[in-house]
């Protein structure tokens, strides 16, 4: 026991995995009681590893951990929970078919008699905490029926009910809508006022500025120091994170769009649950331009991309690329036509995670003549190609033969992009191309997108990141309720506040104004 102003004191933490990778080196992480402390860093900087050690899921190779001044050995999550540490994971640790109350008490179920669960006590307990901390949930609802924002509240409640005084939140806003994020921040501040300590993992600069008191920045497994949030500018933070000044605005020349490439006309789609997801959607993407699609998620963007890449069939409408209809064609044919896709879910549709980088980058071109020698592969040509791409796209790896799943999120996305951008695409459909990846990779991918469009590709960019869609796109449409409600011909001249109103469905342009996006006389 030693006196300390810190509730969490991690000193000289090293974590070296058995495969030799050093995830943390000499990290000091100190959190004061009752503060919201940000843990920042790019993907692969060692944030998650550090927090896993604090929550007992991993053990440090060297170093000491003190909780409330007492030296502890956190050997399992159970031990960490006993020391008052709770963690809200990025992927929720909930059981979908159980009710909210059952999830809250799982593992510590109140009993009636010796054998049975006391369900009314479980509900009462959930309600009590829910009220005390302003975390509104329905204890009787099954978790599978509740929205993401409420699931997160259940996770926080789970930690609080177990007596957590220190909460670790792993990128809590990644899955939330704007409104849910606002609500979460209000709840977190409420918790802080009641003396709880919150560790907030994120790489979104704006959020960090908004809610945290202090921050620790990690880079390459080492701590870059502790800073007061109020005294540190966004530019400074990003320099500390990536070690150079990231240009937060993409430099791009004026677009000079020419002939139409992708022409979508009167697309309609009804989903499995009988809900109309697309209603008479028409637009054109021309050669040399980036057309952005903005909108709150769930307003038909995903369905549109699915249809464009023939993962779903529309009820009505037509899609042509370079004048040729594409609906119903196999993805293989779409690739032959020069249509590239950066899918929203890169782990499922973008890569094969247990295959190597090399296998992934040639997966769309392995049948080309230059990669084959009779019935066998021409491995020399394949090695040369993959090495070239790894270098050009700056994929951080040991070798192109490394398994893709061993890479960090940003580098995995670079592998996807290396394949999709190097096939001389006529049309690039980029669906959330930089979601959840670090600043460096984001900047790289954005630059490449602009480069390709200026070289003559047509780009359709779907992104929930407002900054991204405004900065990258030359012109922009707004989706709301499965319809295009606004078209901005020049993003540089548009008003962000006004766009917000279109996104929320408060305003819409006249059909004639929207119709301009088809670029037909």
């Amino acid at each position: 026991m030693h006196n300390s102003e810190y509730v969490v004191e991690m000193r000289g933490i090293d974590k070296i995995y058995s495969n030799g990778i050093a995830a943390n080196q000499g990290v000091d992480f100190l959190v004061k009681k009752g503060e919201i402390h940000a843990l920042m860093g790019e993907n692969g900087a060692g944030k998650s590893t550090l927090m896993k050690m604090l929550f007992g899921m991993e053990q440090p190779t060297h170093g000491e951990i003190f909780i409330n001044g007492e030296k502890v050995a956190l050997t399992s999550p159970t031990v960490a929970i006993a020391h008052g540490i709770g963690m809200v994971h990025q992927h929720f640790m909930l059981v979908p078919s159980l009710t909210v109350a059952e999830n809250v008490v799982l593992g510590m179920e109140p009993k009636k008699g010796k054998l049975f669960v006391d369900f009314s006590k479980a509900i009462a307990l959930t309600e009590e905490y829910s009220k005390k901390f302003n975390l509104e949930v329905d204890p009787n609802a099954k978790v599978m029926d509740i929205p993401v924002g409420m699931k997160q509240k259940v996770e926080i409640l789970k930690a609080l009910v177990r007596g957590a005084k220190i909460l670790i939140l792993d990128e809590p806003t990644a899955v939330l809508t704007t409104q849910e994020t606002v609500e979460l921040f209000r709840e977190l501040i409420h918790l802080k006022e009641q003396g709880y300590t919150i560790i907030f993992i994120s790489h979104k600069l704006k959020e960090i500025k908004e809610i945290t008191d202090r921050m620790t920045i990690l880079r390459g497994g080492r701590s870059m120091g502790v800073y007061n949030t109020a005294d540190t500018s966004e530019q400074e933070i990003s320099r500390l994170m990536v070690g150079r000044d990231v240009i937060l605005t993409v430099q791009k020349e004026q677009a000079l769009p020419t002939e139409p490439v992708l022409q979508v006309r009167d697309l309609e789609f009804t989903n499995d649950w009988n809900r109309k997801m697309l209603n008479k959607v028409s637009f054109t993407v021309r050669k040399g331009e980036i057309l952005g699609i903005a909108g709150v998620e769930g307003n038909g963007q995903r369905e549109l991309v699915d249809i464009l890449y023939n993962f779903a069939k529309p009820d009505a409408g037509s899609v042509t690329v370079g004048g040729k209809p594409t609906l119903g064609l196999h993805q293989d044919k779409l690739r032959d036509m020069g249509i590239s896709l950066i899918p929203e879910d890169r782990m499922i549709y973008g890569i094969a995670d247990s295959a190597s980088i090399e296998e992934n980058v040639i997966s769309d071109r392995f049948d080309e003549k230059k990669f084959n020698k009779g019935p066998l592969f021409n491995m020399r040509a394949i090695h040369a190609e993959s090495e070239r791409l790894v270098e050009e796209y700056q994929v951080l790896c040991k070798s192109p033969q490394q398994q893709v799943k061993m890479l960090s999120g940003g580098n995995i996305q670079k592998v996807v992009v290396a394949r999709e951008f190097s096939s001389d695409p006529v049309l690039i459909i980029a669906d959330q191309p930089t979601r959840g990846i670090d600043v460096g990779a984001t900047e790289f991918i954005r630059k490449k997108l602009v480069e390709l469009s200026r070289a003559g590709a047509a780009v359709l960019l779907v992104s929930a990141d407002l900054n991204e869609v405004i900065e990258l796109s030359d012109s922009l449409v707004v989706f709301h309720g499965g319809e295009i409600v606004a078209y901005f011909e020049d993003t540089r001249k548009m008003d962000e506040m006004e766009m917000g109103e279109y996104m929320l469905g408060l305003k819409r342009q006249s059909p004639e104004e929207v119709r301009r996006v088809v670029h037909e006389k």
Binding site: I81, L94, N103, V117, K158
Partner: protein
């Protein structure tokens, strides 16, 4: 055709359905528990076979059918734990473990039978006939029709089987263990993160599975028949897996689907006596299995669609 109908609409036919469904019910309940815990145990067939043999052997050695059932239960637990041991400790594919137990059950039972009796066919000549007590429930058996079908001269294990439907339901939905079993089966990370021992729960589910499988085996050799004979399980372990799937692993659903399979088998037995082609008739229970699962799949698909549409509407209303 009317002949068949008249022979079906008898209490003895109904009683034969019960007789046939009991082992399927035991095994399907066993499968339900492991399935809920996320453990796919396809080794029911082999487990039942060995348990059936050990049941008569223990009864013969001790002179008590009760000891026979106990022996079968102990072996059932050991075999199920063995599957868990290899699957969890040594990371063998659990399907392969199940196949191994099934192969062991088929060949091992014959080998053991030969070592014990010198016969490769059945235990009858050396061990004699063994039958669990048959019980007629006093008051209840007086109820017309139902009393005669359910409560007259049934094996004790038949009553136990139906009791187990209720017990398994209570276990899964009213006890801490049940909640943990379901949590582990659906999201083991969630269970792990709140300190619920995932493997402890999986092993526990296998022990319960073993107990039920043991009783299924004992019923086969000491109630359904009065001896062990080679190949007597005849796919019941697999039909039980189908019953589990069709009943969505819910005890009552599992009971109803076991009843359906019992009915199909009983029908096949009755129709055998008529001039309908025998092979065709023998295929009936299996055809019903396929049909049942198809209907089940279609209905769940439609139901989820309906429920989702309803939820969607609710959400829209709320938003408006």
């Amino acid at each position: 055709m009317s002949n068949i109908l008249s022979s079906i609409l008898t209490t003895s036919f109904a009683a034969s359905i019960i007789r046939i469904m009991v082992p399927i019910l035991f095994a399907a309940l066993a499968a339900s528990i492991t399935e809920k815990a996320g453990v796919v145990n396809i080794g029911l067939e082999g487990t039942m076979s060995l348990c059936a043999l050990i049941a008569v052997t223990c009864a013969w050695k001790s002179g008590s059918t009760f000891v026979g059932v106990l022996g079968a239960i102990v072996l059932g637990i050991l075999l199920s734990l063995m599957i868990g041991f290899f699957a969890f400790k040594f990371k063998t594919d659990i399907i392969l473990c199940g196949i191994a137990v099934n192969t062991l059950g088929e060949g091992g039972a014959v080998l053991l039978l030969y070592l014990l009796t010198g016969s490769k066919g059945d235990t009858q000549t050396v061990m004699g006939a063994w039958s669990l007590p048959r019980v007629t429930i006093p008051v209840l058996s007086k109820i017309p029709v139902i009393g005669e079908i359910f409560f007259t001269n049934q094996s004790v294990l038949t009553y136990v089987a139906f009791l187990c439907v209720i017990l398994v339901w209570i276990l899964l939905y009213k006890t801490p263990l049940g909640i943990r079993i379901r949590a582990v089966g659906e999201n083991d990370h969630a269970a792990d993160s709140v300190g619920v021992g995932v493997y402890k729960i999986k092993y526990t589910s296998l022990i319960l599975c073993g107990i039920l499988c043991g009783m299924a085996g004992a019923y086969m050799s000491m109630s359904y028949m009065t001896m062990f004979s080679k190949g007597m399980i005849a796919g019941r372990g697999f039909i039980a897996l189908a019953a589990q799937a069709m009943g969505r692993g819910e005890p009552v659903g599992v009971m109803l689907s076991s009843l359906l399979f019992g009915f199909a088998q009983a029908l096949a037995n009755y129709v055998k006596g008529t001039n309908l082609p025998a092979r065709l008739v023998e295929a009936l229970p299996y055809a019903v299995t396929i049909l049942g699962i198809t209907i089940y799949a279609i209905s769940t698909y439609k139901r989820t669609r309906k429920i989702r549409a309803k939820q969607e509407k609710k959400a829209q209303k709320k938003a408006a």
